[in-house]
Chain length 408, copies 2
Amino acid sequence: MNEKKILLVVCDGLSDRPVRQFGGKTPLQAARKPAMDAVARNGVSGIMDVIAPGVIPGSDTAHLALFGYDPFKVYTGRGPIEAAGAGIPVDRGDVAFRCNFATVDESMKVVDRRAGRIRNGTDELAKSLSGMKIEDVTALFREGSEHRGALVFKGPGLDHRVSDVDPHHETEILESKPQVPSAEKTARVLNEFVRKSYEILSEHPVNKHRSKEGLHPANILLPRGAGSIREIESMRERYGMKCAAVAGVTLVKGICRLVGMEVPDVKGATGGLDTDYRAKADAALGLLDSNDFVFVNVKACDIAGHDGDFKMKVSVIENIDVMLGVILKDIQEDSVVILTADHSTPVVVRDHSADPVPVAISGAGTRVDGVKEFDEISVGGGVLGRIRGTDLLPIALGMADRAKKFGA
Amino acid sequence: MNEKKILLVVCDGLSDRPVRQFGGKTPLQAARKPAMDAVARNGVSGIMDVIAPGVIPGSDTAHLALFGYDPFKVYTGRGPIEAAGAGIPVDRGDVAFRCNFATVDESMKVVDRRAGRIRNGTDELAKSLSGMKIEDVTALFREGSEHRGALVFKGPGLDHRVSDVDPHHETEILESKPQVPSAEKTARVLNEFVRKSYEILSEHPVNKHRSKEGLHPANILLPRGAGSIREIESMRERYGMKCAAVAGVTLVKGICRLVGMEVPDVKGATGGLDTDYRAKADAALGLLDSNDFVFVNVKACDIAGHDGDFKMKVSVIENIDVMLGVILKDIQEDSVVILTADHSTPVVVRDHSADPVPVAISGAGTRVDGVKEFDEISVGGGVLGRIRGTDLLPIALGMADRAKKFGA
């Protein structure tokens, strides 16, 4: 049997909940989307828990799952997740930490692990630390919510197996210790970073101001939860496919590179509401000529969801549909097309939600069920049933005659 | 996004199989149940394997799963569940047993494993045993229904891996043996407890009186099903919700207490066919004011199933429907309502079966599929698909905007 090509189109944050003011419809139900409906009508549909039922997917973990990788296994420690959350890209070889802004006295005893639950000024404090060079390591730091932040070390010879600086109690801060010999450098750099953070933060105007107001100064960072991204097999090693991606968003591009996809820059593919859909369609078709697997991410519906803008979301969906139509018109008939979302971003929630996403797969010779429309409800009648994100690519590989046999 | 409240209504043993004499309908299909149908009509439906496909759930394991706990991980032996149900708090490190009051002759041969199914006086017998000190272990004992009771050992160095004293037949009682070296002390204390229970019970006025009346004296306790509780987070710790339960059956109450729910006594909520449905509805509505999660268990359909009484089961379902109607009428619109069963108890089986159960979830803003009726077959067309019991609460938490994000 001929191995077929696979096109995976992920509309970021596409799915939604019904909105009363708009006739109890979801944006997907309200939109005119003949190309999306054609994928459902010509193939099989279902709903999908991208991570697991009741887990709100991040775009990073969701894409890992959609590429067939268990996100719980790819990450070690919470550090990389916090960092991804704070918007610092974590690459293989980096070590990432969760941090608290805290208050210490002159003997390095922690007075307040949360620096009075500081809320204002952490962005300025973060800027004063980020970019610091220690030996040949660059430390990137960004603030999170309240007293939280994320720290990423980038440089050669790092290893995440170091102990926490954060003592987790109001007592003296700890010296980070390597737990394996190969982590000695990381522990040394970390201790130096903490020492310098104290020097810099103690003198920072934000803290001078806090002290004047009688508030605990955020005069030190306490890193914990060191983690790195495990060495993971590339998609080529794993599935024997040459893979490429069309994506505008940094976080998603990072995940694609992590799994070894080629990620060319596409002019006009910004990841924003102004993204050039036609350019994306052309890029996807071009990449399909020389690759076995092409992934297209369109971010714009997520943005409309975060903005709580129903009409904008409908309009974005209709634009994506035009892009999809261009691709479907010119794609080789003998390809498997997957259409889905990485998570829901309901306009009433204005953030990611745990609601499952619709999925449809069509292509040469696949089964065809009775689903005629691609939306959160219609796909419930499809023969894909309710699947997990990590099952999606294996199912598609099966349809593309690229699956492996187990047994005789 | 506002976190919503969650109401979980579990109709014990509700679901069934079609019965030829009644037009090939299940009791649920035959019953008039507008309130149940409304939950399905206004939300999403599906079918659920409460434990796993082909596993017949017990009420205890089923409820653990419905509260989101993997029963295979929580549970060692039946003892702790019986004890929690009888109202003895079981803490980590304790070892708990189910016990029968039994009758032995002087050679320690069991004459009657149920002491003539003794009903009266077990409270007094229990008091004469509870609080006994053996070595540094305190033995707490409380009577259950009829000849049953629960025993809990509290003290250092206990291990539940000991064999039963109960021979399970009318033969000589067994000596408990440790199954691992660390359980030697527990076995020794248990054998001593049984010996002492015989001494004390033989002389007890309740038994003197029984002997005079020609009844079998309850002159010994036969412990079995030793178990302990693994570290289990309360629902509050796990989900950040204040939780309460309305339940009449001891076993179910025990599970609720085990996971840290408040379980007030509701007057008239007996767990029997005569339970006061109106009182249950009022109690549930009252608890919803001050809790985030309220669980209601109605036992009566299970009883009708065990009795093999189709008409009784239909009638019970219609009564429960009235109760549900009262709740739905007064519940805050902005709440998530889950309607399901803990297992099937088909009237043709007269016992629990592995048939999956129907489930429907409705509430403020959730998706709405095309399912119009709540029964074993109609829900199969719903967008929930086929789920596992342990997925139910995570899914509901997602709908209630209480789910956690994984990733960025």
